[in-house]
């Protein structure tokens, strides 16, 4: 009985007892979720446009951030490093299209998936080779990002919001809005959606698939860079971040592989869910459950709704 009390009652008593901590937990989960959502977003973009399950999205995040910080450490001014990093993401998109996608077009999905595995290794090796393997500090101030925190003495306690986290949320929202506008109102954006709906149809209206791929990988690269800056500011920039980026995968399960709103909502659910789980239920089993909670949540969810939150129901035809 006691164990049931600990599982089903006690955590809620704690939540009610210290609402400031609950709010803080939700906020931390929200910020983590925003970052997961951004990684998932880059993934969804690529999956929609080229049908590639891009395992390397997480590594692209680290690679982009590492390029930025690495250049900065080599004495390049922050603004220039940012521009150069964006440029390198563009080159990467070009290279991926030319070297990986083009020769592998029409191969089964799993081959392209594996190719992005190869890309992952390549980027890790290359990134560490050029910039060294030691963790690097994100030049937050030089990039014009805020430091410090906003403290609110409310709810009988303290809720402390890091300015960098607020910035992350704002930038993420701006980015999502920007992407939405881009898709709705530009020629390229419409072309991208056309490709997502039907490759053949897109070809027949005279859009080069190759160009689309470059653009989409580049866009995903920029999203990766933004994510990398935000996460790098929270801890350090190193390839240890790669494991965290795997958390974007359960987000995708929740949100579906092709849904942008799904990626965002899924990210928030996973982010908040795992923080609540770790904070209120984790101590029951000795803590550290955050490493798997997201996956188990996603798995449980899958069993009931295999197509994801916003995915279309798949009717099997024979």
């Amino acid at each position: 009985m006691h164990i049931l009390y600990l599982i089903f009652v006690d955590p809620f008593v704690q939540m009610a007892g210290a609402p400031d901590l609950l709010v803080q937990t939700l906020w931390e989960g929200l910020v983590g979720g925003v970052l997961y959502a951004l990684i998932a977003l880059g993934f969804v973009l690529i999956f929609k446009a080229s049908g590639v399950f891009n395992f390397a999205q997480g590594i692209m995040m680290v690679f982009a951030a590492l390029t930025l910080v690495g250049l900065y450490e080599k004495g390049v001014p922050a603004w220039l490093a940012l521009i150069l990093a964006i440029g390198i993401m563009y080159l990467l998109a070009l290279a991926v299209e030319r070297v990986v996608l083009r020769p592998l077009v029409n191969q089964p999905d799993i081959m392209l998936f594996m190719a992005t595995f190869g890309l992952t290794y390549l980027l890790i090796g290359l990134g560490e080779f050029v910039f060294g393997g030691n963790p690097k500090e994100m030049p937050v101030a030089a990039l014009g990002l805020p430091k410090g925190s906003l403290d609110f003495k409310i709810l009988g306690g303290l809720v402390s919001l890091q300015k960098i986290d607020i910035a992350a949320a704002v930038i993420a929202s701006a980015m999502v809005a920007g992407l939405a506008l881009f898709f709705q109102h530009t020629r390229i954006g419409r072309a991208l959606r056309a490709v997502a709906d039907d490759h053949q149809a897109a070809l027949s209206v005279g859009i080069s698939l190759n160009q689309i791929w470059v653009i989409v990988w580049f866009t995903a690269g920029i999203v990766a860079l933004a994510t990398g800056i935000m996460w790098g500011a929270r801890s350090d920039v190193s390839f240890a971040l790669q494991v965290i980026s795997l958390k974007a995968l359960p987000v995708l399960i929740l949100g579906g592989f092709t849904s942008v709103p799904g990626a965002i909502v899924g990210g928030l659910i996973i982010g908040i869910g795992e923080k609540l789980g770790e904070f209120y239920w984790g101590p029951l089993v000795g803590g550290g459950i955050e490493s798997w909670l997201a996956y188990v949540l996603a798995l449980a969810f899958l069993l009931f709704k295999p197509e994801g939150l916003f995915g279309e129901k798949i009717i099997e035809r024979i």
């Binding site: 399950f53 070297v99 990986v100 020769p103 592998l104 191969q107 089964p108 999905d109 799993i110 081959m111 998936f113 594996m114 190719a115 595995f117 190869g118 890309l119 992952t120 290794y121 390549l122 980027l123 890790i124 090796g125 290359l126 560490e128 080779f129 393997g133 494991v243 795997l246 995968l249 359960p250 995708l252 399960i253 592989f257 089993v285 000795g286 550290g288 459950i289 490493s291 798997w292 996956y295 188990v296 996603a298 798995l299 899958l302 069993l303 295999p306 099997e316 024979i318």
Partner: protein
């Protein structure tokens, strides 16, 4: 000229149903076994045996397990390392609870425990497919790895949090622990791997293997042949996890000697996946090719600068290994998406036609 089945007529279906119907293949297999059982232990240095062959064979065994799942049944798994871990921890528990029992018995038994755990995590495979299943298996990976670290009973509450392999001997010869010579350990691994490869080969060439492949190629049609999807998929999970479990037990008991939960981390799962894909999906031979490439290539890359008399920093070599591995994966996928096993077949086909290419 030399590799040709012309003139080899089969007079019975039994001969035609054999796994190696062509005589030259059988000779080749005999030669490889001869090299593996005689030449390598006789001529190979300790490094070759302990750091190249033993890991290679163990990884190949795990890759065969994964190949049964991915290559034969079409179920992608990213949790192989965790199932290896289950085998390793099960073997540790069993062998410390009952130290007097023959260690080989426990290594095989731990395969069955991994098998049971694998079936549990295979249950969702009926409802979810493809990449979704791949991500779902990550739940097994992270959850099991957490258990290895958190459930003290599993590692006998050792203060180090690791499992340490006690010495065990077989017919008076030490097979685990420090006093086991590399050659002994090599023979133990080799015998198990050869036997289990033979069994896997029997399975995939018979009814069960055909059922798996039917599920892989067209699950709807498979059902119409009377194949029940859940049992077929669960059997694939079970057999696959059994192989992973035995490989995991061997990894700790014969190869590493001690292990922390991190030994079974996600990177190992990924490496095994590479081996299967690069080697060739749905090919047992490919599992060996893949394991050889992924395990041995970095060793060669690391040894190359020394051998060439270049002085390159060890870190640089490591970075280059990553770059080269990554580039090779992409290269192989482009050149031959069906893996090294297919290259091998094409090679054989060429040889069959040689010296007249048409």
């Amino acid at each position: 000229m030399f590799y040709r089945e012309v003139g080899q007529f089969k007079t019975s279906y039994a001969a035609d149903q054999a796994i190696f119907p062509i005589r030259q293949d059988r000779i080749g297999l005999a030669l490889i076994l001869l090299v593996a059982f005689v030449a390598i232990p006789l001529l190979g240095g300790e490094f070759l045996i302990a750091s190249v062959m033993i890991p290679f064979l163990i990884l190949a065994l795990a890759a065969i397990g994964l190949n049964i799942l991915i290559g034969y049944t079409g179920l992608i798994s990213l949790g192989t390392a965790a199932f290896m871990g289950v085998g390793a921890y099960a073997c540790y528990k069993l062998s410390t609870l009952f130290p007097q029992v023959n260690i080989l018995v426990w290594i095989l038994t731990s395969g069955f425990i991994a098998c049971a755990v694998g079936v549990v995590f295979g249950l969702p495979s009926l409802r979810i497919k493809g990449f979704y299943l791949a991500i779902a298996t990550l739940a097994a990976q992270f959850f099991l790895q957490w258990c290895f670290g958190r459930v003290g009973w599993l590692y006998n509450y050792n203060p180090s949090g690791a499992i340490e392999v006690p010495g065990h001997s077989l017919f008076g010869v030490a097979v685990t622990g420090p006093s086991a010579t590399p050659v002994t350990r090599y023979y133990v691994v080799l015998c198990i791997v050869v036997a289990m490869t033979w069994i896997a080969s029997n399975l995939v060439h018979g009814r069960i293997g055909r059922n798996w492949m039917a599920v892989r190629d067209m699950d709807i049609a498979a059902q119409l042949m009377g194949i029940r999807l859940l049992p077929a998929k669960l059997l694939a999970f079970a057999v696959s996890s059994f192989y992973a479990g035995v490989a995991g037990a061997l990894m700790v008991f014969i190869w590493l000697g001690a292990a922390e939960p991190e030994a079974f981390n996600i990177n190992l799962s990924f490496l095994l996946l590479f081996m299967v894909i690069i080697g060739g999906l749905g090919s047992l031979l490919g599992s060996f090719f893949g394991a050889a490439l992924i395990h041995i290539l970095p060793i060669i890359v690391r040894a190359a600068p020394n051998a060439l008399g270049l002085s390159v920093g060890s870190a640089t070599v490591e970075h280059l290994t990553y770059v080269i591995t990554g580039a090779l994966i992409i290269f192989f996928l482009i050149v031959e998406p069906h893996g090294l096993a297919r290259l091998w077949q094409i090679g054989k086909q060429k040889l069959r036609a040689w010296p007249f290419p048409y």
